[in-house]
């Protein structure tokens, strides 16, 4: 096996771990609390771009006018906090309804995509922002990939631990209660709107953390890394694996990524490469339809609480 092949495998695993963090955050929002977040990719991009702008060295500015030259850990924390505040604002606009939040979050992601594609002074437009990392300078290709896989593995395990603990706590129990019957939850003295907002903010902060780690791993922020399709890929993985079950979410993400890679490698129609790309979605869509009919709760059933 060549070094390049091992590096490829490791970068595939790294991407998988990033997506695992995202699917766990979505499972907290949708699986536990019933919040429809169709703007997932927007919060990932927000975390990524905030990190990139914070890290960009002001002495080497070329096509971008803003940069702060902060070290990654500081940029990471700032990205999470900034995203938390913006997620709070987004959800505060629609204090009342779930459906409104679904639309607003989708609109927010689109708004952000247009902004990062056009505001060249801040985001570099379609060229994007390139940053450098200490790890990149000190390690060779293989060492770099190994280091990142380990960092992301630790991060993914932490998020898994945290979201599971949160879901099983009284905080998660109340979220689960609100998802099932909001009026009943209100009658028990629960401020359902504010509780839901808290979960929306926490989930979005986790998404920003994933975006921030991803940018430090890939070292570039460009708009095409954050297509709307990413949001729905994570949604599909969650529904596939089992809504309301962290283990199912991870499993679904793994299956989705394997299918995706196999399709890329082997799905080939000689002479018509453009059909193969579309065929992938047809196959995944078909699988999803069969699954929804045969097993609507996903591969693993829900596990929202320690009480079964």
């Amino acid at each position: 096996m060549t070094v390049a092949f091992i590096a490829f495998c490791l970068s595939f695993i790294s991407l998988f771990l990033i997506y695992v963090i995202l699917v766990l955050a979505l499972n907290l929002q949708w699986g536990q609390a019933g919040i429809l977040n169709f703007g997932l990719v927007g919060f990932v991009a927000l975390g990524a771009y905030t990190t990139a702008i914070c890290m960009l060295d002001p002495s080497t500015l070329a096509h971008v006018d803003v940069g702060f030259g902060l070290p990654f850990p500081v940029a990471f924390v700032i990205a999470i906090i900034v995203t938390g505040i913006i997620a709070w604002l987004v959800s505060a606009i629609v204090r009342l309804g779930l459906e409104e939040l679904a639309i607003i979050s989708l609109a927010f992601a689109e708004f952000l995509h247009v902004t990062i594609s056009n505001e060249e002074w801040l985001t570099g437009g379609t060229v994007g922002i390139y940053i450098s990392s200490l790890l990149d300078e000190k390690l060779d290709l293989l060492g770099y990939n190994v280091a990142f896989t380990v960092i992301l593995l630790v991060a993914a395990l932490l998020v898994y631990y945290f979201t599971t603990k949160l879901n099983f706590s009284q905080f998660g129990r109340i979220a689960n209660a609100i998802r099932q019957d909001e009026i009943k939850a209100k009658s028990l003295g629960i401020d359902t709107v504010s509780h839901r907002m808290k979960i929306f903010v926490i989930g979005s902060m986790i998404m920003a953390a994933a975006g921030s780690l991803y940018i430090y791993f890939g070292l570039r922020a460009v708009p095409e890394l954050y297509p709307v399709g990413l949001t729905f890929a994570i949604w599909i993985a969650l529904i596939l694996g089992g809504t309301g079950n962290n283990l199912g979410a991870v499993l679904g993400m793994g299956i989705y990524m394997l299918l995706d890679m196999l399709a890329r490698l082997y799905l080939n129609i000689p002479g018509h490469p453009e059909i193969a790309a579309g065929l992938k979605f047809v196959i995944i869509g078909l699988l999803l339809v069969i699954l929804i009919i045969r097993r609507p709760e996903g591969i693993l059933g829900p596990k929202r609480s320690r009480y079964g």
């Binding site: 706590s169 009284q170 009658s187 028990l188 509780h195 808290k198």
Partner: protein, 268 residues
């Protein structure tokens, strides 16, 4: 009963219309602390609407609601029912509502009667390894005690949605008992509950009164209502027809005509 008992809940000239229907047409009532007040009346007379006005699920068109001499009408208008529950007014529903996917034990643990820390900082504290939820054991203990009182301990691990209506009703009452408000608004607490559990529930409700809690209930089963109530209001077509003690109600000719049927008291 002490005549000087404090009035804990007072409604003045409440009105509520749904389209052309006047569901509540100038209702005034007073509820004294640590009493059982029952509201009876034919179907469609506006009893549940009256409850929803008091608990904040529906807002009145006009009129005032006072809780411990504090005007809470505005709170009710904003439909901030969780605030009212925090203040100490809580409602159980005519058709039991609940968290069906939870086990019976867990659905009793939802009631946030114990100080539950839901602030964002406490949530992030969960991130620290080894942090245990201190109140979970206490919560579970209280829920188990309640299940024992309701005679449901054998079903504690079963899902709420798999239960019959009576059991769901008991669980709902258990939730509201655990919440422990000052005023319990019970909408037909006995409907659907199996016959052998009725005395148990009535005893529990009487026990609440002894502990200084106030109970307002809507109920169709006449015998229990006449037995345990201190004051009964008869609601007909959105208006209070009569207010009186069970004895007075039993003998009132208008009540017999409007509700009980001219032939006499219906027993169930």
């Amino acid at each position: 009963m002490d005549n000087k008992a404090r009035v804990i809940l007072r409604c003045e000239n409440l009105e509520k219309s749904f389209g052309a229907t006047r569901a509540i047409d100038g209702c005034s009532l007073e509820v004294q602390e640590a009493t059982i007040t029952s509201i009876i009346g034919p179907n469609g007379s506006g009893k549940t609407t009256l409850f929803n006005l008091i608990s904040g699920f529906t807002s009145p068109d006009s009129g005032k609601i006072y809780y411990k001499d504090r005007d809470i009408t505005e709170l009710c208008k904003k439909s901030k029912s969780y605030t009212l529950a925090e203040l100490g007014i809580a409602q159980s529903f005519q058709l039991a509502r609940g968290f069906g996917e939870m086990t019976i034990l867990e659905s009793l643990m939802v009631a946030p009667s114990l100080a539950s820390d839901n602030s964002l900082t406490s949530v992030f504290k969960l991130l620290l390894p080894g942090t245990k939820e201190v109140s979970r054991w206490e919560r579970e203990k209280k829920a188990k005690e309640m299940l024992q009182e309701l005679g449901l301990e054998k079903k504690s691990a079963e899902k709420l949605q798999d239960q019959d209506v009576g059991t769901q009703k008991l669980v709902e009452l258990g939730q509201i008992f655990l919440l422990g408000p000052s005023i319990f608004l019970l909408d037909e607490p006995l409907a659907g509950v199996s016959r052998d559990k009725v005395p148990l529930l009535l005893n529990y409700i009487k026990g609440l009164r002894e502990r200084g809690k106030t109970i307002v209930m809507i109920e169709h089963k006449m015998e229990p209502v006449l037995n345990i109530s201190d004051i009964i209001y008869v609601l007909v077509n959105g208006k209070i027809l009569v207010r009186g003690s069970p004895k007075e109600i039993r003998e009132d000719q208008r009540v017999k005509e409007a509700y009980l049927g001219v032939s006499g008291v219906r027993t169930e």
